[in-house]
Amino acid sequence: MTMNTTEPVLEARGVWKSFDAGRIPVIRGVDLKIARGELVALWGTSGSGKSTLLHLLSGLDVPDRGNVTVLGQSISSERARLQLRRTQTGFVFQLHNLIADLTLEENLRIPAMAAHKTEGETRARIAELTDAVGLAHRVHHRIQDLSGGERQRTAICRALMNRPAIIFADEPTGALDEQTGGAIFELFKGLTIRENVTVVLATHERRFAEACNRILRMTNGTCEL
């Protein structure tokens, strides 16, 4: 898929979302555009709708109204969202959400399996990513044997496995201490440049939001540019 560099990599138009059969409105008419290579913060308090908007933008959930396009393609169909998750996006959660019984390497293989990558491609990518985040010596360790910071770095590697265009990160530093959280954020910034990916980071921490290229402030389901 090719696109003009000035064209937004991610665009939302009039996106609405509510729960409980419309009784709980969460996202109220969000419009936004994000360009390639940007590190954008979705900043707001708990309950402001950051996670829900992130789910809608990443194709994990479907808006009640409005449209989301990624790389110029609408993701309104299930097929388009699946393809998006496989090849164009990666997701990092507040809790790492890795499979604890598997090793670091086996966790990184999951996106590659989903996208039917070859063994050679998979191995090379695992080596490249674990080396970049300083976890090459831990590839055969089980997740339960890793520290919180190592787990989150592994989750970032997993999100990057299929060379996505966009990474969505939902409070990735929220469960970490200040120092480790800072290191993870720096890792994100570095990877944005190194991997040339767009990062949409949901955070309630002002210091991280201010360190991003742009802040989208979430308030009560609306987004202020």
Binding site: D61, Q94, N97, D101, A114
Partner: protein
């Protein structure tokens, strides 16, 4: 593929006991079906081989449910022997007798010329004396063991006391565990004078069986002649036995299938978040369902292997255990093994269908919202 298998095995390893119970459920079904079906097929095969020793056709009374109730007159046997194309007819009266501690002993009333007598390996006594001595019976090797019978001694069978004229060995469990009586003695003992249960017919030219069947139909209103193969397929007792054994086996499989369904459902319920993460990472609904079905297939595979091991061990034990009087000569056929494998996998995969469907329907955002 390797990665998928790793995910499947990892999940099964997480809940070893639960997986073990599922494997045991399928294994039990496999062992039960293998044991029951093989024993029944063995029994049917033994009975068939008694009738088909040296014959092409079986002639018996029309519309009887069991050969034990069939009555063919000796005059009819004689007339059968005179039909064109008939080489020989062997008459046999089959009955069940009992002795102290042994409630069931098959008794074969036969003539001295019967292949059962001629072809047996005589351990004591001689076939030439068969039917020559009054009140004398001949016992199979296994029957001799449990009746503690030997040539020249007397044994009690039912209400009668008989002298043992010899001990003979055959390859057939029913025969080896049975008692052979000269036909007149058997007719007297079972109060069926002038009657036999069945006539087995050998033709000079087996290709002219159709003519023989028509002759029998035309000449004997109350008799029917069936080719051995036809008899095996249509004899109601064989069909009932065979159907029952498969039905019992399938019932035990259904229990195993329910075990698999329960295990898989619990497996899905306890890792909804993990499945959601797989979906986030790009797994399709089909891939997620495939993982659950793969777990069921692994359970079925291990269950089949363990079930075969247990079933074959049970059959081996039963084949040699003296308590079974040699009546168990299990027949383990490749097509039966294949059928059991197919049923085991179908049951396990059938049990995993709903869990797999449920897993494939998990929406990542819904599952993750409660983080």
């Amino acid at each position: 593929m390797k990665g998928h298998l790793r995910l499947i095995l990892t999940n099964l390893r997480r809940h070893k006991m639960r997986a073990a119970f599922s494997v045991a459920g399928i294994g039990f079904g496999v062992a039960a079906m293998l044991t029951i079906v093989s024993i029944v097929l063995g029994a049917i095969g033994m009975f068939q081989s008694i009738l088909a020793k040296e014959s092409h056709y079986v002639v018996f009374e029309k519309n009887v449910s069991d050969l034990f109730f069939s009555s063919v007159k000796m005059e009819q046997v004689a007339a059968l022997r005179l039909l064109p194309g008939v080489e020989r007819v062997d008459a046999m009266l089959v009955g069940i007798v009992s002795s102290p501690n042994h409630p069931i002993i098959t008794c074969f009333g036969v003539e001295a010329s019967d292949p059962l007598i001629r072809k047996a390996h005589w351990l004591s006594g001689t076939p030439s004396r068969f039917g020559m001595e009054p009140g004398t019976v001949y016992v199979g090797q296994r029957a001799a063991q449990f009746l503690k019978a030997e040539e020249g001694r007397s044994i009690r069978i039912g209400k009668g006391e008989f002298r043992v004229g010899g001990v003979l060995r055959t390859d057939n469990g029913f025969e080896d565990g049975g008692v052979f009586m000269p036909l007149p003695l058997a007719q007297e003992y079972f109060h069926r004078e002038g009657l036999v249960s069945v006539g087995t017919v050998k033709l000079k030219d087996p290709s002219k069986g159709g003519i023989f069947q028509r002759d029998v139909e035309h000449q004997f209103e109350d008799l029917v002649a069936l080719e051995n193969k036809e008899f095996n397929q249509s004899y109601s007792q064989f069909r009932i036995l065979s159907f029952t054994s498969w039905a019992v086996g399938i019932c035990s499989f259904l229990l195993g299938g329910m075990g698999v369904a329960n295990t898989m459902l619990m497996s899905v319920f306890t890792r909804i978040r993990e499945i959601a993460i797989l979906r986030v990472c790009g797994f399709s609904k089909t891939q997620v369902a495939g993982l659950v079905m793969g777990e069921a297939a692994v359970v079925a595979g291990v269950g089949v292997a363990s079930g075969f091991a247990v079933g074959l061990l049970v059959l081996k034990t039963m084949n040699t255990a003296p308590q079974f009087q040699g009546y168990v000569q299990a027949v383990v056929r490749p097509d039966i093994l294949a059928a059991i494998v197919v049923i085991a996998f179908a049951t396990a995969l059938g049990g995993a269908l709903y869990p797999a469907w449920y897993a494939s329907k998990i929406q990542p955002a819904d599952a993750l919202r409660f983080e």
